[in-house]
Amino acid sequence: MRRANLVIPIVLGLVSVVAWHDTSSYPGSMIPGVPGGAAFPRALAVSLFVLATLLLVGALRRDGEPETHVGWKGVGKNSALLGMLVLFVLLGSVWDFYVLLYVIVAGTMGIMGERSKRALLGLPILFVAFVYVVFHRVFGVDFPSAYP
């Protein structure tokens, strides 16, 4: 956690620099005396830079803290979940939405430790059926589907 307390302010500082840099391409205001579209994001960029600096200074002053244990198992589970979500987003419009939804619900249950085959099979099917009935039939939402 100590390293994160040093890295995060640096990342935030970089975000503020990138935001400031992007504003350099904005046109000026058409109305004299009125700030253009660059003023607000620039003010935000400066504020973020100042706050990130305060955070970094605070973290450096607390540098005597012991390193916090990182739960790598949790990181692994979340990485797996994130991977599934990315695939869901990429494939959602080209594959069957309901199948992908089943996979993501069952997959998340599996990541979280569900081992019962009945639960892994039954609960996601019930859930997908609920989505089909409520969102598609009742609310009229059209999900991408392999079936007509």
């Binding site: 579209g37 607000f40 973020l48 987003v89 998340t108 996601p124 939402v141």
Partner: protein, 518 residues
């Protein structure tokens, strides 16, 4: 006012709307009762369900869910000893000890009655306050709205979270995300980095679904396997008597006032309301030592206040268009999706909606009483549902809801992105509510700033020549300055050695807190 209420009831008392209120109440109690789910998450998940509804049924569902969720947290707080919502934390102080003494039934009875009284009181205050505040806010111009937005964000950044700096960083991040997209006044892209997908800006509802619901799923996945399954205590024992209920009237009235007032302050919300109410009840009690050991006054003080805060939080939302909490921020997003813009013109443009909200809140309190009383044995079983079943369903509904908004996977992608961002923020101590409120209030702040300057010909004194604007901006500065002075500057001013440390060799840190975190 009674004419308005009659009209509101006339709109709300249809079979469809009553069914929606009951459905929202059941969903709200469930959301509130499940640890890890908050009213904000419940509302973020429920908003997609309202897309197919007209504005009035949609808002009836949202207010019913909000009201019921604040009560629902007490079920787990009492039966399991774990608060279902942050606001129910205070309920555990006396609710769980009562359960351990075999008085769970009484505690749950106190909770539902007190929640209903608080909910009704908060609604009545909303009905009385709406007119005067809305009339007053009709005098607001761009400068005043800019100052109001800044004030709201300064309070939220201050009150929410463990650190002032992190709270304000959260606000700035929310405002930066608001900037993404086409400039409203200039029409050119900002912070899109050449991506056409970002030209429409950040879509509010998927962002909220991601920040509140999907980030929570990441947290639950991370901790899965580390937390023992919940076991609820057997609900038995005596129930609340009529005499005990009458004895709680002073507590309920006082807590209702506290809850409503605190609920109206942006960023304060139900958690602060219930804590202040419990502490106040303890301080003025003739037997303060009994608080925390399992007494009905303790449960009542907490639960009355957190439900009264619902009406309080609706006051700035409906009159000024300024959400007072994460939950009302999601409601604001939900209303905007339906083309309704809360604010002083609401009663002029959509008067029936305002009256329907009054009736909806009162009917929700009634529905909550019935659902709460009849459903206690069911809720106690449901809260033991394994998290490994609950989290995937929350994720699934979040993804479906994000897609249903615009039939687009890019909204799902946006919800996923904000889910990851929200998880990272929470993991490293950055609160989410300020970011969400900033995303919502960003338009009010920037657009009115530029409009005010356009009207004044670029003269910045327009923000201080208006008394309302001057007061609000001064309060905003003070809300930032006071914690900085209190935590950093005041402790550094030493008044001499502390007599307690003389001759002991102890450091002079006894004189003040050497905190490096504001």
């Amino acid at each position: 006012m009674w004419d308005h209420l009659t009209l509101g009831f006339g709109l709300a008392l249809t079979f469809q709307n009553l069914a929606i209120i009951v459905a929202g109440t059941i969903l709200g109690v469930f959301v509130g009762a499940m640890p890890g789910l908050t009213p904000s998450i419940g509302l973020a998940i429920a908003v997609p369900f309202t897309f197919a509804l007209e504005p009035i049924p949609a808002i009836l569902m949202m207010v019913a869910l909000y009201m019921a969720a604040e009560y629902g947290g007490s079920i787990t707080a009492i039966a399991v000893g774990i608060p279902g919502t942050p606001a129910a934390m205070t309920t555990t102080f006396d609710g769980w000890p009562m359960c351990k003494k075999g008085q769970a039934g009484k505690a749950l009875g106190v909770s539902i009655v007190s929640s209903t009284v608080g909910g009704v009181f908060g609604t009545l205050v909303l009905m009385v306050a709406f007119g005067p505040i809305a009339s007053f806010s009709l005098t607001f111009g761009p400068a005043e709205y800019f100052a109001l937005g800044v004030f709201g964000l300064s309070i939220v950044g201050n009150l929410v979270g463990e650190s002032l700096v992190k709270g304000f960083i959260s606000v700035i991040l929310g405002l930066l995300f608001f900037v993404v997209g086409l400039d409203v006044l200039g029409g050119y892209p900002r912070l899109t980095f050449g991506t056409t997908a970002l030209l429409d800006g950040v879509n509010l509802i998927p962002a909220m679904i991601g920040l509140f619901a999907i980030s929570e799923v990441f947290k639950l996945v991370e901790s899965s396997g580390d937390v023992a399954p919940r076991k609820a205590a057997r609900i038995s024992g005596s129930y609340l008597t009529w005499g005990e209920t009458k004895g709680l009237v002073p507590t309920m009235l006082r807590s209702s006032v506290i809850g409503t007032i605190v609920g109206a302050v942006p960023g304060a919300g139900a958690t602060v309301a219930s804590l202040i109410s419990w502490n106040t009840a303890k301080r003025i009690s003739k037997t303060p030592e009994k608080f925390g050991t399992g007494i009905i006054e303790g449960v009542s003080a907490s639960e009355t206040a957190n439900n009264a805060s619902v009406g309080g939080a609706m006051i700035p939302l409906l009159t000024l268009g300024v959400p007072g909490s994460g939950s009302t921020a999601v409601m604001l997003g939900g209303l905007m999706v339906h083309g309704v813009n809360p604010g002083p013109l609401l009663v002029i443009e959509n008067p029936e909606l305002v009256y329907a909200v009054y009736a909806g809140l009162l009917l929700s309190a009634g529905a909550m009483l019935v659902v709460g009383l009849l459903g206690i044995p069911i809720w106690v079983r449901i809260i033991t549902m394994p998290t490994r079943w609950l989290a995937p369903m929350i994720l699934g509904i979040s993804l479906v809801g994000a897609y249903a908004l615009g039939n687009s996977m890019s909204d799902v992608g946006m919800a996923t992105f904000f889910g990851v961002l929200g998880y990272v923020m929470v993991r490293f101590g950055f609160p989410l509510v300020p970011a969400v409120l900033a995303l919502v209030l960003g338009f009010m702040v920037e657009t009115n700033y530029r409009r005010a300057l356009a009207l004044s010909g670029g003269d910045h004194t327009t923000f201080v020549t208006s008394p309302i604007s001057l007061v609000l901006l001064t309060l905003a500065v003070l809300s930032f300055a006071i914690p900085v002075v209190k935590n950093h500057i005041a402790p550094a001013v030493t008044l001499g050695p502390d007599p307690r440390t003389l001759g002991t060799g102890e450091a002079s840190s006894a004189q003040g807190v050497d905190s490096t975190e504001p």
